[in-house]
């Protein structure tokens, strides 16, 4: 569609209206950030009214352009624009800014308000999620249809976003991949919370982004014509684009423009009234929306409906004789899985062992990929070690959007990009690194859990048993750290067949993230004729080996340590001590089971409980109770061969059996 000429009067009126919707809402909430929404209103206007291909009536239209507000503290800018553009967000909602159960949360929350594409607030995250969205679009364009998925991703960001390292990682990768569908608009207001950006930030942003191979443009933030021209040039350029807009925080506020005070607190009644006057508005009126503005913005819905209808027509046309990619996508666009997706999952036999669970994972992943064409992922430069390469598949690169992603040594951006990919309808995304480096990506993992996105994390090299690389590479506190995160499922399978089940669980779960915790070292494949079936881990915890006769002791373990527990059980049973081994592979799933099941697995009558896990012990008291013992790590590890370390730190069957005997003696 050709664009109508820019009407400066209408534009100004709408922009001013946006500014004061934000300032009024912050004032009313008695908290929030007025300055940035006021400064960015021209951009929001131009984007929502003239540039974004979106349909306010259907915020889920898969072909829409995405807008991410990386500077999430400017949330009222988004809410005001969404309201005026005709999204399902009422004036009442704006007035309830920052109130309990209101969709207008302090920072934009995905799923709470229509048109909020992702949850932002922690700086840098939105920008990196935007990179993931742009990758998702390119992937759909190539694998499904480049006519349906030529949408763009716009990101608004602040200096704070640009200072965060995750931005550097994501921007470098975006330039490397030539994501021409990504447009980043930087609000260069030269103000931070502590004062002028000159306190800590004097790098040449333009030069830095040129070094990343981005298109870079600079414009005045109030010059609508200049911004429009830049936006058009950005769309035309095959590189990702940065538009640096020179802005003023809280423009027009008589004493607070260009001051840090305007960043994170209401302007105050007097300043707000004076600002309104400076704009020729009534100083006492709040939440004022002139009819002309409503009428002018009504066009968004008209235009949006037409755009989406064109898209739907195209979809129908293509669906007449659908290419295979489109069929795949139609099946999975709403989170559905193709029939028989898990039918060819491998079954491992004892003779396949010893097999590290990371190796089993690689085999399972490749089997899944054969049936899940929209599964994609990669690692932070550790594919050979994490066994996450999809064999025979192309790489995602500048020249083609294959399924093997190469994140580089950029764990943090990987986490955020997985969120962007998970926002893309139909895609299942995984990312891999060593468990220790999950520390680098906690912020995006948290956002995935908060948003209910379902990326799959493949964390290998899961304990001191990784050996010689030493304590800098040996996870200790990571397992409890991940278990503390609400909504994240942490699964640590004990052998190859449980690894297959863990992958099945992770793929099935489309409303929350899953972390697979996998061993570097080889592990036996458990003889399931002798022990309970591997699908027991679908309940999070299960009795792997029953006691013979009276239950005297409970051994509870996860992952590799399950094998040590089983061997310890042999020693104890030989002494006539009925010993049960419980595999507690996923605490979250086990906790979700009915009380009766949990009691059957861990009978409360049995007080002699020993947990075994080569990790920090925090949290294990939940399962061993007041009398039990936890064999875990109370220190960092050391550099030596893995088997030596396991012995050194007390994870041998002999050491475990000794602890059990000691405990039984204590309890009797």
């Amino acid at each position: 569609m050709t664009k109508e000429p820019l009407n400066q009067d209408e534009a100004r009126r709408t922009i001013d209206c946006l500014r004061f919707l934000a300032a009024d809402a912050v004032e009313q909430a008695r908290s929030g950030h007025p300055g940035t929404p006021m400064e960015a209103a021209p951009l929001a206007y131009l984007l929502y009214r003239r540039h974004l291909r979106h349909n306010p009536a259907d915020s889920h239209w898969p072909g829409r352009d995405r807008l991410v507000l990386s500077c999430g503290h400017a949330s009222m800018l988004l809410y005001g624009a969404l309201h005026l553009a005709g999204y399902d967000l009422s004036l009442e909602d704006l007035k309830n800014f920052r109130r309990l159960n209101s969709p207008t949360a302090g920072h934009p929350e995905f799923g709470k308000a229509a048109g909020v594409e992702t949850t932002t607030g922690p700086l840098g995250q939105g920008l990196a999620v935007g990179v993931g969205m742009a990758m998702g679009a390119k992937f759909l364009a190539e694998q499904v249809s480049d006519e349906l998925f030529n949408y763009r991703v716009y990101v608004l960001c602040s200096d704070g976003d640009l200072m965060e390292g995750v931005t550097a990682e994501a921007a470098s990768l975006a330039g490397h991949l030539g994501l021409g569908n990504l447009i980043l608009i930087y609000l260069d207001n030269r103000i931070t919370i502590e004062g002028s950006t000159s306190l800590a930030f004097s790098e040449q942003v333009a030069t830095r982004f040129l070094a990343y191979d981005w298109q870079v443009q600079q414009v005045e933030g109030e010059n609508l014509g200049e911004i429009e021209t830049a936006l058009d040039a950005a769309k035309a350029d095959p590189r990702p684009s940065l538009i640096i807009t020179r802005t003023h925080i809280a423009p027009g506020a008589p004493t607070k423009q260009d001051s840090a005070e305007a960043h994170g607190a209401p302007l105050g009644a007097a300043e707000l009234a004076a600002t309104k006057q400076a704009y020729g508005r009534h100083p006492d009126k709040s939440f004022e929306i002139p009819d002309e503005v409503r009428a002018h913005m009504a066009h968004c819905r008209v235009r949006g409906a037409r755009l989406q209808e064109l898209w739907e027509e195209q979809l129908r046309r293509l669906a007449d004789d659908p290419p295979p990619g489109l069929l795949n996508w139609l099946r999975s666009r709403d989170g559905g899985l193709p029939e028989g997706w898990d039918r060819n999952l491998p079954e491992f036999s004892c003779t396949d062992g010893p097999l590290a669970t990371r190796q089993a994972s690689g085999i399972v992943l490749n089997a899944l990929a054969a049936r899940l064409p929209l599964l994609l992922g990669g690692s932070a430069d550790l594919a050979p070690s994490t066994n996450t390469l999809l064999k025979g598949e192309r790489s995602f690169s500048r020249s083609g959007s294959g399924r093997n992603l190469h994140f580089g040594v950029r764990e943090h951006a990987m986490g955020a990009i997985l969120n962007g990919l998970s926002h893309t309808p139909g895609l299942i995304a995984y990312g891999a690194t060593f468990l220790i480096f999950s520390d680098y990506m906690r912020p995006p993992m948290r956002l995935a859990a908060l948003m209910g996105l379902a990326p799959i994390y493949v964390f290998t090299h899961d304990s001191i048993a990784l050996g010689e690389d030493g304590p800098t590479h040996q996870p200790v506190e990571q397992l409890p750290g991940l278990r503390a995160l609400p909504h994240l499922h942490v699964i640590r399978p004990a052998d190859a067949n449980e690894t297959a089940e863990a992958w099945r669980l992770a793929v099935e779960r489309r409303d929350g993230p899953t972390a697979l915790i996998l061993s570097r070292q080889g592990l036996p494949v458990l003889d399931r004729e002798r022990y309970a079936p591997a699908d027991g881990i679908r309940r999070g915890g299960y009795v792997l080996a029953e006691e013979q006769g009276e239950l005297r002791a409970l051994l509870i373990a996860t992952g590799a340590e399950v094998h040590a527990a089983l061997a310890a059980r042999e020693l104890l049973e030989a002494e006539g001590l009925g010993t049960r081994v419980v595999n507690l592979a996923c605490w979250e799933l086990f906790t979700a089971q009915a009380q009766g099941y949990r009691e059957a697995v861990l009978p409360s009558a049995c007080r002699a409980r020993v947990a075994i896990e080569a990790a920090a012990t925090l949290g294990w008291e939940r399962w061993v109770g007041a009398w039990g013992e936890v064999i875990g790590m109370h220190e960092f590890g050391a550099s030596a061969p893995g088997a030596e370390l396991l012995a050194h730190f007390g994870f041998t069957p002999q050491a475990i059996a000794a602890r059990v005997r000691h405990l039984l003696a204590r309890l009797n």
Copy 2:
């Protein structure tokens, strides 16, 4: 001292010796990284033999230049060079590479081998720690003596380091601050674990660092003359310097040079022998050190002794009539604290409340700073919110090294820079942000704990009670996540006076990091006539309010929730239920107390225990036992005023009392 001319023959011999010490050690350990040490041997030679001002006989000499191996996987380069230079590291140690209890750990570990300046391995950390060291040097130069502390910091890094976001943060800040004493040498070998760097890394590194305002030079990695010239130019330039050295991984290896295979696995016997032959060495001899090489490198100790003696002379000269800064430093160089350092800590009275613990912290911090002239710190652009500005003190900037640091919105680099500052003799460093953003800085916090460094983290806005900013800003899983980290002390004081004690503990503790967890919201200052004295938290946990009569219920809480527990106690006592309130401000300190004390505080006979903490509950079972209950967060928070949220999530005295009654009924 004037430098002797470069003797290419001697240099080559020594360099080749370094290459094969590394390759042989990796081969013998059957694991490790041979390729990078082999490629970087020329740099190690030039630095240790000709450029570093160091004294192998005294690795603690405060005036020495520092060398940080940010690509820690190349550890054998460091060990080989330290051995040849005459540090206390034997050939036997090299042969025991990666063995239990050997100083030659898989990645360099601070404190294990003399001459290892910091623990590295997790990529990006070393570089950012180097920035902190360079800041520390500048600070000492200005505050103590620019003659004594004109040392330089050299950092060797790989492409992996440069991809990590923490590097971008630290490098941007280094350029901003004009750290001319920092020289970064980048080993540009174009190989990563997954293959060519072209898979994921094509940015123009030189341009990017120019954008940060660094000096940038490019040299061939085998051209000794070129490297020397570049090092001299780097020393002369007032900006931080980047020297990009074009190198080849595993140079001279017939089939593995320039291949990813040479990165992380031994070359293999055949390839190693063939490589030795290519260098004109005996293919079967291992760990060969020609006498000429020993003789040539013996100069390092001679030169080092002379350099240090000159420095000591200077110190003696200055000490004759010492400037105040020098006296301060001499007192604290080995971790000592000036007499009376805590004498003017404020005491708060009830009428000072309500006072947020972050506010109390700001007052305490300023009092400490008056007596601790080498205390310095700052925040990641949140000084006004975290109350961490030292009033009347200058900022650390390009033009002067004051005590107020402005990290910008760079939490991750802040954490690493704190490590670099903590490596600097005499300094006490703190860094502040919101507790939620501790997620951005877990990797350097872990390294601080592993190394036994003692930075102080000021984490404010410590629960959902921060209110309207909503779930993206409300910590939930951070408290258990931090508690899981070995050696970190996590202290969450309940009021202003406990905040003073918490600071006292943090400053006293010079062999491990401390995190202070502080409230955004105002809290009463507890009446210590009525309750136990605030220094109870020095034992980690203490009985704040005794039960009247028989002990029926134990309420265990931390921080702000202590006040809710006290109020709940009033309700229960009024009903005749003897209720004790225990403040468990620091689990690590409490765990370290004698069993008798712990039993006295938490008598095991009392089964009715309720823990109250507005955080994820993981770990609390340790204290409430099998029967107890934990009132905590099982979800993320929400955006609303803090008091409403506390009520909504069950943290009111009424709700707590109800849980206690319910528990008592269940237990009876």
